[in-house]
Symmetry: C2
């Protein structure tokens, strides 16, 4: 009984890595926070091969860690160091199976890269509105399994909102074929939603039908300066009242975070007198947005809600503003070690949370620096802390998460739980909810071979 | 051991009906298709009372049929005739608990009427975009439990897309409090989606947080005439390519259906030379839509994609067009008995389905008349059949559903399964999917007291 030989017989020689060097990229996450040692890395070519691998692993009691583009921030796709977990890489299941311009759908293998799918949609004059900094590496299956967020959520929702149909391999090798391209389907329990955001713990997503949207060729981008976080949220409300959900992005950035990014890019830090900046973008099929967005911003400047603004007058200027936004995480990495929090609170309580958290950290953890940015239009902040020494952050994350919980917020707005936050989830979630999650896990995966210890605390599963 | 006495002690005298006359409205559905005999009708005032009722029913083995506004079309809220099923009416749990203009959320008891919630949203300059002909009676809990559709789905999705948080009472009386007002929350399995569309078979929804959207004060409405169903779909594609998802409604109506409605209203039937009509509506926060929509329609008339059109030049004209659309179902009722099919197919295959279904019915069921209308932008047709005699429709529904299944469609696009379509669901659904639904049902409701026989076939549950 040699599972490696059996795996080769399923995926072929080219589909199995067992050499430590070759497996290295699958043995750690891209940030270097999580390290493991896989039994092997199997790359199936088809749904049937995935099912065969699952059945084999079930026989041998081998745990499976599904891996997509491995761009996650929670260690969900990194095996443990037991040497007994098989990484199941969807890389070779990357086909675009179908695109439908009238139905506005695209059908994809789980391994298809997000940017590839976006390009296929764009060729039809349509858009796949999942926008992530890592979209050149993210795979569709991973984006669905983690219910990915990003900068388009305000207008288009999370990855879940795009999913019309799924194909899933269950823990016993059963294939659920739900690759339906229907906008409306209330025929029985809609099981596809059980797998979105389940991080591979309930089944392995092998293909999906996604709903596309019409392109929005007209855009207007502005960098807005605000005297306070409260003002920024007031600006959001006024812009949405006037422009509706043409407001597709409302990215809040604290002064210090912008300064770090500008230094990294070697540019002057924009609107230097303003403590809070927002990269706001409006998009529409209607050309009128190109005039209405600047008009709306000017009106808010006159009313002193917006303190100062840079209105992009060209695509190049807009791109430069987005480059600043997209450099925030890299600039943070250059500033020291960083402790990331991916939190959300009700939008109306965001400013109060920011004030209380800053006071709390200033009093209790004086050696750290804050690097705050995020999708304020969604109530989601990357409330990150830069530090140099482990001793300076003892108890800090727990305190932030306690505060978030007190604000009826979430300790994982868009990054998921993975292995990184599974203990905090266990600590802060209502026992009745945890018990239900654990029951579902046991129902779908009674022998616990699917991404064990991720998402659902092992103790409760 | 008298469960009626115990029920009174929970909900009070005013909260329990046992008199046959008083229970009559809860004993049948509004179309008169389903009739039953409840043990009693209990109307709790609080989540705790719902939990107490569930625990009591669990002790006594009494089945619970949750009832909202009882506007459904599938008999999901009508008890059977055993006299042993308790109707649990959410009528008194109708509070608006909170509205949040900045967060764009509303928190409601399950019994709140949809129109009441819409009005509360409108007072904030926001919109609750679930639009149903029955919105003056529909309760929020029922809309969520059936994942209601309607005329706004093209732009805003089904009821599921509005649900940010849920409070649910489980079969053992456990209360899950997930009334979170977060746009983004990936902290563990997102259990609220297990209950949306579950028709009361997995738990009882007692309250919800819904996401509102900015109002769209600018609108343009047109009645478009097309030479064929294919042309109508071509028109949809062109309008969306130019106006994006400003297109909020695209309601297809067959000639005969429009003629029946016009006769009912006592008006001339519009665009009488066109076999297919579409009520198209575009809405936006941008005033430009009021010019762009007519311009786009004129361009399609010049290209002979639209054969003829009536462009509403006032709100009154737009309302008259909508009145026609909303009279289709009533006109159908006046024309004879009707056999309703609530089907969806991939939009690109809709015209082919319509042609094949018409040929099939013409050949096999010559005595019936078709009354076709629906949300073509969603691929959803109310493919209804008017008949006078039961003998004329033997086997017709099964044949329509077989055809739909062959087109990779759904036999229930928006009405749900209830008791009406549970056998067809059982007949036409993949056994692996049915088995999974049944396992979930057993996990959530091991003794089978929650709306038994609805949604999930009893045999598999």
């Amino acid at each position: 009984m040699n599972p490696i030989r059996d795996l080769v017989s399923i995926v072929g020689d080219a589909g199995l890595l067992t050499d430590e060097g070759a497996m290295a990229p699958y043995s750690r996450d891209w940030r270097g926070m999580f390290h493991g040692r896989p039994l092997a890395v199997a790359s199936p070519r088809s749904t049937d091969e995935v099912a065969a691998i699952v059945r084999l692993c079930q026989q041998h009691g081998i745990a499976i860690v599904p891996a997509g583009g491995r761009t996650g921030l929670a260690g969900g796709a990194t095996p443990d160091d037991s040497g007994n977990q098989l990484v199941l890489a969807l890389d070779r299941m990357n086909a675009i199976r179908d695109v439908d311009a009238l139905g506005e759908t695209i059908t994809l293998g789980a391994g298809c890269i997000l940017a590839t799918a976006q390009a296929a949609a764009a060729e039809l004059g349509l858009m796949l509105p999942i926008s992530l900094a890592s979209e050149g590496s993210v795979q569709i299956g991973g984006a669905i399994a983690t219910n990915a967020g990003g900068t388009n959520v305000l207008r288009y929702g999370m990855a879940r909102a795009r999913v019309l149909g799924l194909e899933v391999v269950l823990a016993d090798g059963t294939v659920l074929n739900g690759l339906r391209a229907l906008r409306k389907d209330n025929a029985g329990l809609d099981w596809k939603h059980w797998f979105v955001g389940s991080e591979g713990a309930l089944g392995i997503i092998t293909a999906a039908v996604l709903q596309l949207v019409p392109a929005t060729p007209h855009a207007s981008t502005a960098l807005l300066g605000f005297a306070s976080c409260d003002d920024a949220l007031d600006g959001l409300r006024h812009l949405r009242a006037r422009l509706g959900d043409s407001i597709t992005g409302f990215e809040l950035m604290a002064r210090a975070a912008v300064d770090r990014a500008a230094a990294l890019l070697g540019t002057a830090s924009p609107l230097p007198d303003q403590p809070w900046l927002v990269l706001a973008e409006a998009r529409s099929a209607l050309a009128a947005i190109e005039q209405e967005m600047p008009d709306a911003c000017m009106a808010l400047i006159e009313r002193e809600i917006i303190a100062d603004a840079l209105l992009a007058s060209s695509g190049a200027q807009a791109q430069a503003l987005w480059r600043l936004r997209e450099s925030l995480a890299e600039a943070e990495a250059h500033a020291g070690r960083s402790l990331k929090h991916d939190i959300s609170v009700p939008i109306a309580r965001l400013a109060a949370f920011v004030a209380e958290a800053e006071a709390m950290i200033g009093a209790g953890w004086p050696a750290v620096a804050l690097n705050i940015f995020g999708h304020a239009g969604d109530g989601n902040l990357h409330y990150n802390v830069i530090y140099q020494d482990d001793a300076d952050i003892i108890g800090l994350s727990a305190a932030v998460h306690d505060l978030v919980t007190g604000y009826d917020g979430s300790i994982s707005a868009e990054h998921g739980i993975g292995q990184y936050r599974v203990e905090e989830l266990s600590r802060l979630t209502d026992p009745a909810e945890l018990a239900l999650m654990a029951q579902i896990k046991r129902l779908f995966d009674p022998s616990g071979i699917l991404n064990p210890g991720r998402v659902i605390p092992l103790a409760s599963a």
